[in-house]
């Protein structure tokens, strides 16, 4: 299904960005990790700004 959510690579240096994401969590307690992720999600959510994309991502990410 072709939705609004991008499914192909959109990063020029994918390994760098991925490692930056993981490294930012290094040394954090579980609780700190959860708070950090929540803030990160909110910042990115607002930056994306497209409700259709966000809703599709919510669906795809669901366990």
């Amino acid at each position: 299904m072709a939705g609004a959510l991008r499914r192909t690579l959109n990063l020029a240096r994918p390994d760098d960005v991925y490692n930056a994401l993981v490294d930012a969590h290094k040394g954090l307690s579980d609780e700190e990790c959860r708070a950090f992720d929540a803030r990160l999600i909110l910042l990115l959510l607002n930056h994306i700004g497209d409700e259709e994309v966000i809703r599709e991502a919510l669906e795809e990410a669901a366990p």
Binding site: R34, A35, A38, R39, I41, L42, L43, N46
Partner: protein, 521 residues
């Protein structure tokens, strides 16, 4: 304890105790906010009303304190809104604090040019007192105190009531019964009607106090304040230098302990400091529910206000929704009673006000979930939002400490005529409340109603299609701007100040058709 002097309104022995009385067109049960407001609106349209109230005084405790603009506009028609504004505290700004610092300020009415402010804080007992006084001066309204309805028997063409008084029991027949008898509605119980909804378990403490010193005028809301670090606190100022402090206590709080004056004083001392002096007015430990009846109209019995729907207090949507119910119902019921519209028009009250209740419950539940998160992830995102709020304006907008009552929209109501023109910008679409603006030396809201009105931009005085035209200048002023008007633009305004239809170009036929549709003919 209270500085308000409760008057006891006289009980008069009803004639029906001695001989059968006349059949009534409309009986209202309950004299809170909805009942007397509805009675005054019906009387203004020539319909006689009997109000039956089980006690003989006004609201015990301040209860509903935030009177919204739309409610004030309604009460202004009975000449009591100016008094409310004068007695109450006008506020349009709110502040949200996180721990010890302000993170967010909002203004509910950023633009001038409205007769009434966004909110006036006035205790419910004053609102009821002014309503009772006005009802007492109205020849078409009879208000019976200490008349308790103990039996309700629905008939095809009306309702038979059994009423208990200090002098005994009498019976009474009415064409229409409107139950405005509150959240525990005895009428609803007697008819065995369900009241489905959601129960919230967090406990809150309301402390109304008279505090000496400088009092803030704006609404203040704290998340995790230093004086109550585990929960939230809401502060509102009321008339007579009374403050309402609303402490969130959490789920495990013991209501009997929290009610003790020494415990309330301890919380207040932490909030206002050791030097502050106050006197207690009223206090209450409460939880709340969100409920809505499946139908507001059951044959000839109609439910309004808290009897029909109830929400959390965050957002001032209880008392103001009761006024909106009365507004919506009054003109329809008056038309039906006078034979101007078929009784099916009453069904649109249920449809429109249920849509409004759904919206109120949705809004209030979202606020409640933000203030009292129900599960860990909900608390996590709430706290993340709060921690971002200082540096990121978008996060401030997500803080939901109560989205305050504005008139709801009934999109898709069968009474509305959908737009035929497609070039509308800012103006209120059919199903939305009209917007006030200056008009000549007065206000637009002063000039509409009690019947249908056509706002004719650039039009001359007169009537078209059976509707009185209210000419509005099309000179780039506030009115023209708020209605996205050009010369020729016209809005058909319902008696409850909602837009029924609008046109860029109109004729008598189009107006006739929209009017027929809006009146259920």
């Amino acid at each position: 304890m209270s500085s308000y002097e409760y008057r006891h309104y006289p009980y008069v022995r009803p004639v029906e105790l001695d001989r059968p009385g006349p059949r009534r067109p409309v009986v209202i049960v309950g004299a809170g906010i909805a009942g007397p407001t509805l009675a005054l609106s019906l009387a203004a349209r020539g319909v006689p009303v009997l109000i039956l109230d089980e006690d003989d005084t006004v609201s015990l405790g301040s209860r509903s304190i935030c009177q919204a603009k739309h409610s004030l506009e309604t009460w202004d028609r009975f000449g009591i809104a100016a008094r409310m504004v004068e007695k109450g505290i006008t506020w349009e700004q709110g502040e949200v604090y996180l721990r010890d610092s302000a993170i967010y300020r909002f203004n509910l009415q950023p633009e001038p040019g409205h007769k009434f402010p966004a909110f006036v804080n006035l205790q419910q007992y004053y609102v009821e007192e002014y309503l009772y006084e006005r009802c007492g001066a109205e020849a078409l309204i009879e208000m019976r105190h200490r008349n308790k309805v103990v039996g309700v028997a629905p008939r095809d063409d009306g309702v038979s009531l059994t009423v208990e008084t200090p002098d005994g029991i009498y019976t009474l027949d009415t064409d229409w019964l409107v139950a405005c008898d509150g959240v525990r509605s005895p009428v609803r119980h007697m008819l065995g009607l369900p009241y489905p909804g959601e129960i919230f378990h967090d406990r809150f403490l309301i402390a109304d106090i008279r505090l000496t010193g400088d009092l803030p005028k704006e609404r203040r809301f704290w998340f995790y304040p230093p004086f109550h670090p585990t929960n939230s606190v809401l502060l509102h100022r009321q008339a007579d230098d009374i403050l309402r402090v609303d402490f969130q206590l959490g789920r495990d709080a013991d209501p009997d302990e929290e009610k003790k004056p020494e415990n309330i004083d301890r919380r207040l001392r932490e909030m206002f400091g050791p030097e502050a002096r106050w006197a207690h007015e009223w206090s209450s430990v409460y939880t709340f529910t969100c409920r809505m009846m499946e139908r507001f109209v059951h044959g000839r019995t109609i439910f309004a206000g808290d009897a029909a729907h109830v929400v959390s207090p965050f957002g001032a949507r209880g008392g103001n929704a009761a006024v909106a119910d009365a507004d919506n119902l009054a003109w329809k019921l008056a038309r039906v009673v006078k034979g101007e519209s078929p009784s099916g028009l009453i069904d649109s009250y249920c449809e429109e006000r249920r849509a409004a209740s759904r919206e109120n419950i949705r809004q209030s539940t979202r606020s409640t979930d933000f203030i009292t998160p129900k599960f860990e992830a909900s608390r996590l995102f709430r706290d993340a939002t709060l921690s971002l709020a200082r540096d990121f304006p978008f996060a401030r907008s997500l803080i939901n400490s109560g989205r305050l009552s504005v008139p709801t929209t009934h999109a898709g109501s069968p009474l509305d005529t959908p737009d035929a023109d497609t070039d509308w910008g800012t103006g209120p679409a059919p199903g939305r409340a009209m917007i006030d603006a200056p008009l000549g030396n007065g206000w637009l809201v002063d000039r509409v109603g009690p019947d249908f009105t056509l706002l004719g931009f650039g039009a001359a005085e007169g009537a078209i299609g059976g509707v009185t035209v209210l000419p509005v200048a099309c000179d780039g002023g506030l009115a023209a701007r708020r209605y996205d008007a050009r010369p020729g633009t016209a809005y058909l305004i319902r008696p409850d100040r909602y837009v029924a239809a609008r046109w860029r170009r109109h004729d008598g036929e189009a107006i006739q058709a929209a009017l027929a549709r809006a009146t259920g003919r």
